[in-house]
């Protein structure tokens, strides 16, 4: 198929009678692509249009962009939306930084040191990371209740507690992704640094970390996105509404049929989704690599 390709396109340019053949082989793919793009993008265009609609509901939008008003965006200021954005950022960034540091450190240990139980620990991690933490949410809920009686900062309704819960998966989920990457850095470099008098910590912070920055970015982003998108753990841990993350808060806006506030939901969706969308598209290449290495979303 690929061998034919250049020949066919040359032929079609030379002889217009081959146009129908071009159309049958390649041309139809453009309208098909348009169809897919419509399928992929229309909900997104719709939510943008709804967010600019002045009626503040999903029903007013018979035609797209029939009105242009920033009322929904202004209405966000009267809600806790920006508090939730702040909470989400704090929790997501803390979880991402923690996941990156812990994962990188563990991957460094597994990649660079030879110690007893190394193989066993790697296998153990591989098995553990297959069991999603969310299944154990009942136990996590009860655990946090007990912890909260001792240290309130680690109890129910504490952002720190939620960050700690998220960090529970840092080692299992990321070590493998990073381990492979660390292994691709030749050991000879470590040895050279050692001969120059560098300690293991200096090699880690001064040499390895700068070299593995791409994988750190991917792990950080994946950890951030998973904290951003988590609902079940955030919902059971964060009780009071000024502690909520976006996922919990925005769910509350629209979960009740009768009082659903679709106008501000649309505006909030646009604001919340755009940074993630941009990050994702900008780091596409890395993420695809990360995905095929085994971590799955959706």
């Amino acid at each position: 198929m690929t061998a034919q390709a250049p020949a066919a396109s040359k032929a079609s340019r030379r002889r217009p009678t081959r146009r129908s053949r071009w159309w049958a082989e390649v041309g139809w793919k453009y309208p098909f692509a348009a169809l897919i793009i419509f399928y992929a993008a229309f909900p997104l265009v719709f939510v943008l249009s709804a967010s600019l609609d002045e009626s503040g509901s999903l029903s007013g939008t018979e035609t797209l962009f029939s009105s242009f008003s920033l009322a929904n965006y202004q209405a966000l200021n009267d809600t806790l939306f920006w508090t939730w954005v702040g909470n989400t950022l704090v929790i997501g960034i803390a979880a991402a930084v923690g996941a990156v540091l812990m994962g990188a450190a563990a991957a460094y240990a597994f990649s660079r040191f030879r110690f007893k139980g190394r193989r066993g620990s790697l296998t153990g991690l591989l098995i553990l990371q297959m069991f999603p933490q969310t299944i154990a949410f009942v136990a996590i809920f009860l655990l946090l209740i007990s912890l909260g009686e001792v240290v309130p900062a680690l109890g129910i309704d504490s952002k720190i507690a939620l960050i700690c819960v998220y960090l529970g998966t840092a080692l299992g989920a990321n070590t493998f992704l990073m381990y492979g990457f660390f292994n691709s850095i030749p050991m000879e470099m470590d040895e050279a640094a050692k001969i120059d008098g560098a300690s293991h910590a200096q090699i880690f912070w001064g040499m390895i970390i700068p070299l593995v920055r791409p994988v750190l970015a991917v792990v950080g982003l994946l950890a951030f996105v998973s904290a951003f998108g988590d609902f079940i753990l955030a919902r059971i841990v964060l009780v009071s509404n000024d502690n909520w993350t976006l996922a919990v808060g925005m769910y509350q806006w629209v979960s009740d049929q009768l009082t659903a506030r679709w106008g501000i939901f649309s505006a909030g969706t646009v604001i919340a989704a755009i940074p993630v969308l941009v990050l994702f598209l900008a780091l596409q290449r890395y993420i695809v690599g990360g995905l095929t290495a085994g971590s799955v979303k959706g």
């Binding site: 793919k29 909900p43 933490q133 136990a139 596409q284």
Partner: protein, 532 residues
């Protein structure tokens, strides 16, 4: 406390300081500072656990702290220096959580069986409090500190204050000639007028129960009108040796049964119980209990169907698109690819909520735009709701498979394809006999992982349909689109409703087993172990 730990932390560094200085000066100081913080927090945690009498937490934090000091101040634990922080979180919030799930699954922890027997006895004593006949009444001042309400009384000129949480304790203050406190240090006195005019406040005051002492047997102070307090004492008597509660008014003797409930000799039970080990009862209840059996079978079948169908449909659609656009003759493929993966880059929970609105039968645009305003109840009909979930998840995840399949197609060797062409294989034949099998080899592990992920895809189900529409032939709060994880959420009652942690944990174990089996298959497929 801080002085205590500041003294404690530098102690181990004495001998290692010399070693540290030879290598990295400031690095060691950073480590030292960090370890001081860790030690301070650790010791504070241990003391808090001591005060709260939480022995398991105390033991665990002591072990973690000692281990941390050993790891970071010993030369022998080099790899552990790098693994330890992540390991702690992994052990507590993943390994322990899994083990604890297994433990809870063998208990009847839940509504009516919360806490220990001691707590249940206290609850029963408090519940049965009656006014003590002929007891003294105390002139009372209602006091507040922020949102906390309390009672202030005076006994022999000494002002005592207590709240619902804190028993009566003596504080500074002054009293008027009737003995009613007029000034209480640290508390603001609530005006009597405010009590009369504010209905809600008056309700809170009449509900307030201030323990006389730490011992529930001593009873508590309560008030009817906010100006005098009377001592209420429990009409129950607890006999710790016989493990019975006796109601002195009615003479009913409640004895502890093995199921964690106090049962009276007249057959009645007390509302507060404690949790006990029930063995595998939760598991057998899931498959034999008339209320749970039917719905849980349907939920389980739908869980498998959903996970399988959603992977199959999105894989096939992604594969189709990848096949069509893995063609060098199509221009602008980069732009097309970016546009195709838009749904994937959109946060999943927002997707589900957005579609929830768009599929609304009354004002949703799906009905308006594509079905000429027909009144199709997408999320209200059991089968349509199932279809909607598959459709929305297809929208959400086809880009993932598009990316994966495109990558896999590009890595197929062109020699194989050429060989097939030379052998005279048609396009369909090429696809069926060569492309597809080769593609399956590289994508099967991902498909299995995706199956396991969707098996527990709480977000999409809960955000889109809440598991509804509810089954109408059963009393349990489950619905037609509930998968196991959302069913567990409903049954557990962590978000309200009747809590049944035991049954929820038992079902979690079932999910663990399924995920374990699926993962074991994936494990053999990927053979990741070969890499190290």
């Amino acid at each position: 406390m801080s002085i205590d730990t500041a003294e404690k932390a530098p102690a181990p560094q004495r001998d290692s300081l010399a070693r540290g200085l030879t290598g990295l000066g400031w690095g060691f100081i950073v480590k030292l500072l960090l370890m001081m913080i860790v030690n301070a927090l650790g010791v504070a945690g241990i003391m808090a656990a001591w005060n709260a009498e939480a022995w398991v937490i105390l033991g665990a934090s002591a072990i973690f702290l000692v281990a941390a000091d050993w790891v970071y101040f010993s030369r022998r634990a080099l790899p552990l220096k790098y693994i330890y922080p992540g390991l702690i979180f992994l052990l507590v919030f993943q390994v322990f959580a899994m083990g604890y799930t297994a433990y809870v699954a063998t208990t009847n922890y839940g509504a009516g069986h919360q806490g220990t027997m001691e707590q249940a006895v206290d609850a029963a004593l408090i519940q049965s409090e009656r006014e003590v006949e002929g007891s003294a009444s105390y002139p009372l001042a209602v006091v507040r500190d922020g949102d906390t309400l309390g009672f202030a009384i005076s006994e022999d000129g000494v002002v005592e204050v207590g709240t619902a949480e804190e028993p009566l304790t003596a504080v500074d203050g002054s009293v008027d000639e009737s003995g009613r406190p007029t000034e209480v240090a640290g508390w603001e006195i609530v005006d009597r007028g405010a009590l009369l005019s504010d209905q809600e406040l008056a309700q809170q005051v009449t509900d307030l129960r201030v323990p006389v002492s730490d011992n529930a047997d001593d009873g508590s102070l309560r008030t009817r009108e906010g100006s005098t307090a009377k001592v209420f004492r429990s009409s129950m008597e607890w006999d710790a040796d016989a493990r019975t509660l006796t109601d002195v008014d009615s003479g009913v003797v409640y004895s502890a049964n093995e199921y964690g409930t106090f049962v009276g000799d007249d057959g009645s039970t007390l509302p507060a119980g404690w949790y006990v080990n029930v063995g595998f009862e939760n598991f057998t209840r899931a498959v034999t209990d008339a209320d749970y059996r039917e719905p849980l079978i349907r939920v389980t079948l739908w869980t498998f169907a959903f996970a399988f169908l959603t992977v199959a449909t999105s894989f096939l659609l992604g594969l189709l698109f990848a096949l069509v656009f893995n063609d060098e003759r199509v221009r602008g493929r980069k732009v097309l690819r970016t546009l195709f993966i838009l749904p994937y880059a959109f946060p999943a929970f927002l997707t589900a909520l957005l579609w929830r609105g768009m599929l609304n039968p009354e004002f949703g645009i799906i009905n308006k735009w594509f079905f000429f305003g027909a009144d199709i109840n997408w999320l209200g009909d059991p089968w349509l709701a199932k279809f909607s979930i598959l459709f929305v998840n297809l929208w959400l995840s086809f880009p993932y498979w598009f990316l994966v399949c495109t990558g896999a197609l590009q890595s197929l060797s062109s020699e194989t394809m050429e060989a097939a062409q030379i052998d005279g294989a048609g396009r369909w034949r090429q696809f069926r006999s060569i492309t597809f099998p080769l593609l399956l080899v590289s994508t099967a592990p991902l498909a299995i992982a995706s199956f396991a992920f969707n098996f527990n895809n709480f977000t999409i189900i809960y955000m889109l349909t809440n598991g509804g529409p509810r089954f109408d032939d059963t009393s349990v709060p489950l619905g037609a689109t509930d998968i196991l994880i959302t069913a567990i959420y409903q049954i557990s009652g962590v978000a309200g409703g009747r809590a049944d942690y035991g049954l929820a944990a038992a079902l979690s174990i079932v999910v663990f087993v399924v995920v374990g089996i699926v993962s074991a298959i994936a494990f053999r497929q990927t053979k990741k172990l070969e890499e190290f």
